[in-house]
C-alpha cells in the first residue's frame, strides 16, 4: 500500500523546482518567447546562490553563528541576479537582435549547465578553500526550517507544514501569476503580446518592454527553483548534474497545464509524485526506469489531446517562438 503521509511530502519536495520553472516559463511564453534556456537558467540560479552563500559562510569564523537574515538574503539575491542576467541575455538576443529563439535557448542551456557544473566542480579549487566538498549545511538549515508547530500536529503537520519557506513562496508565486494573467490589465496586455504582437502593437502596447519584463521575471522565478533544489532538497550540497532533467520536466509541465500557473500548482505535485513513484512501488530495478517515463508520456498525451480538441483557449500562445518585427508585416 502507498504510504500517503510519507509520499506526499516527498512529492511536494520534488514538485517545487518544477513549479518555479513552469511558472517562470508560462509567464515567458505568454509574451511569445519560447525560452528553451530554462534548464540552463535553473542551473545558473542554483549555482549563483551556492557561490554567494559559500563566500558568506567562508567569511565567518564559525558557520554556526550565521546571521539568519543575511544567510537567506545573500543566496536569494545572488540567485535572482544570476538568473536575471540570463534573462537579459536571452531578451537581448531574441528581442533586440531578433535571433532564433530555439537556437538561443539551446545555447543558453548549454552555457547554463556548463556554468553550473564548472563552478560547482571548481569553486573549491578557485577559492583555495580547505574543504572536501561544497556542503552549505548552515545555510541549508535556514532554508529548510519548517513552521515551528509542524512536528506537533502529526500527519497534518507533515503533509502541509513541513516545508521550507521557498516551497510556500513557489505556490504563492504561481497563484499570483495566475491572478495577474487572468484578472489584470497587465496580464491581458501580456497575453495580447503573445497571441498577436502586431495587433497589440497597433493598440499601443510596448511589445519590447513586455517581452523583456516577462522573460526576465520568468527567468528569475525559474532560477529560484534551482536555488530551492540545492539549498532545501539537496541539503546545501552541490553535486554536478544532480539537478538532472528537471528543467525539461518544468517545460513539460507548462504544456501539461495548458499555460495556467494555478493548475501548475496542483499538477506539479502530480508530476513530483510521478517522478518518485518508482521509489514507492515495489518493482525490479529495470521497471523503475519505465516508471520514470510517466511524466513525459502523460505530457505527450495532454499535448496531443489539447491539439485534438482544438479549443481556442487550450492552445499555445499564437505567436509562440516567432520573433516580432514591426517592419515585417
Amino acid at each position: 500500500m502507498l504510504d500517503v503521509v510519507s509520499f506526499v511530502p516527498r512529492a511536494v519536495a520534488q514538485s517545487v523546482p518544477l513549479l518555479y520553472g513552469s511558472t517562470g516559463e508560462i509567464i515567458t511564453e505568454k509574451s511569445g518567447n519560447l525560452n528553451l534556456g530554462i534548464p540552463g537558467v535553473m542551473y545558473v540560479g542554483g549555482i549563483c546562490g551556492v557561490i554567494g552563500s559559500f563566500l558568506y559562510e567562508r567569511s565567518l569564523a564559525n558557520p554556526s553563528d550565521i546571521n539568519a537574515l543575511l544567510g537567506i538574503l545573500i543566496p536569494v539575491c545572488c540567485c535572482l541576479v544570476g538568473s536575471l542576467l540570463m534573462g537579459l541575455l536571452y531578451c537581448f538576443l531574441t528581442v533586440t537582435l531578433r535571433a532564433n529563439q530555439n537556437v538561443t535557448g539551446l545555447a543558453m542551456t548549454t552555457f547554463g549547465v556548463g556554468f553550473g557544473n564548472f563552478f560547482g566542480g571548481s569553486l573549491i579549487k578557485l577559492t583555495g578553500a580547505q574543504v572536501p566538498s561544497i556542503a552549505l549545511s548552515a545555510t541549508s538549515n535556514l532554508f529548510r526550517r519548517a513552521l515551528p508547530f509542524a512536528s506537533s500536529l502529526g500527519w497534518f503537520g507533515q503533509v502541509f507544514l513541513s516545508y521550507g519557506f521557498l516551497a510556500y513562496i513557489a505556490f504563492a508565486v504561481a497563484f499570483a501569476a495566475s491572478y495577474v494573467l487572468e484578472n489584470t490589465r497587465v496580464g491581458l496586455q501580456l497575453r495580447a503580446v503573445g497571441e498577436d504582437p502586431s495587433t497589440a502593437d497597433a493598440a499601443g502596447i510596448n511589445i519590447t518592454r513586455y517581452k523583456y519584463v516577462a522573460t526576465c521575471l520568468g527567468c528569475m522565478i525559474a532560477g529560484l527553483g534551482g536555488l530551492y533544489y540545492v539549498m532545501d532538497y539537496a541539503n546545501g550540497v552541490w553535486s554536478n548534474d544532480a539537478f538532472g532533467d528537471r528543467g525539461w520536466l518544468a517545460l513539460a509541465l507548462v504544456i501539461f497545464t495548458i499555460w495556467r500557473p494555478k493548475v501548475s500548482a496542483i499538477a506539479s505535485i502530480l508530476f513530483g509524485g510521478l517522478y518518485i513513484l518508482y521509489v514507492f512501488i515495489p518493482s525490479g530495478p529495470a521497471v523503475k526506469e519505465l516508471y520514470k517515463m510517466l511524466p513525459y508520456v502523460v505530457t505527450i498525451v495532454v499535448l496531443v489531446i489539447s491539439s485534438l480538441r482544438n479549443k481556442r483557449e487550450n492552445q499555445p500562445p499564437e505567436s509562440l517562438g516567432l520573433p516580432y518585427f514591426r517592419e515585417n508585416r
Partner: protein, 359 residues
Amino acid sequence: MVHITKRKEMPVVQALAVRLGAILLALVVCGIVTTITTGLNPIDVYVTMIKGAFGTQRKIWILLQEIAILLCVALALTPAFRMKFWNLGGEGQILAGSLASAACMICLGDKIPNAALIALMLVTSVVAGAVWAGVPAAAKARWNTNETLFTLMMNYVATQLVAYFVIVWEVPKGSGNIGIINQATEAGWLPQIGSSKYLLNIVLVAILTVFMYLYLAYSKHGYEISVVGESASTARYVGIKVDRVIVRTLLLSGAVCGFAGFLLVAGTNHTLTTTIAGGRGFTAVMVAWLANFNPLVMVASSFLLVFMGQGAGEISTIYGLNHSFGDILTGIILFFIIGCEFFISYQVHFSKKEGGHDA
C-alpha cells in the same frame, strides 16, 4: 534615433567577414573570461586547445570521428528545419536507433551471419529512428500538435526506454552497464577499413553529406520542402500535399538520426548507454542553424563546435579544471554568432532627428 531596416542580401564575402569577426570577438571574450575565472594566460589556453584537438594522430582521428557523427545528426535535422519543423528530438531518435542496433547485436549476435546481422541492424535502427520522428510528425500533420514540444518530450521517453533495456541486458548483473557487446566475436561490429577504425564512419557520413546536399538543392522533394517552409498556404495552393511532405520529411530526418545511432553502436562505441547521444541532438540544432541549413557549410560549423569541445577537454585535463569549462566557452561563442546574424540580415541607421519613430 535608431532605425532598423531589413537588408536585401549581404554579399557572401561580407557576411562571412561579419561571422569571422564575431568568432574573433568571442575568442577575445573567452580569453578574458578564462583569465578572470582561472588566472591562466589566455594565449596558453588557446595553444593547449589546439594541441588538444590536433596534438597527435589519434586525437585528429577522434576529432574527425566526432565531427562525422555530429554532422550526421545535423544533416538529419536539416530537412525538417528547412520546412520550419523544429525537430528537437534528435537525441531521442539517435537513442532509438542505438537501441535497435544494440538489441540486434545482443539478441542475434551469434545466430546469423555477420553480414546479415549488420544489414539487419542498419534497417532496424533506421526504422526505429524514423518511427521516433514519425509519431510527432503525424500528430503535427493530422492535428497540428506543437512539434517543438512533442519531439522534446520524445527524447526523455527514449532515454528511459534505453535505461530500462540497459538494466535488462546489464553485464554483469547489478553493474548498471552493458559493457562492450560481443567483444570476443565482434559480431555486428562494422568492419575496419584502412588504418583507423573511424575511417568507415567518416566516409559514410561524407557520402551522406553530398547526398543530402543534392537531395535538398536539386530534387523535387527538396523543392517541396522549401516551399512548405516558406509558406504552407502557398504550398497547398500550388498543389503540394503539405501533410504528406511533413510526414515524409520527418521520416527521413528520424531515419538519418537512427543511422547516426547505428554508427555509434556498430562503428565506435559497441555498447549502449543512456548518454550515448551525448547531447548531439541539441548541439546539431546549432550546427545546422549556424550553417544556415546548408549541408556543405555544416562541415565547417560542426568542426567549430567539436574543436571547442575537444580543445576544452584538454584544458580541463591539463589545468585540472572541470570539464564543463568547454560548455561555457562554446556557449559564449554561440551567443556571439547568434547575435551577429542580426547585422547580416538588418541594417541599423542612426539619425540625429529627435522624436520620430519610437521602437
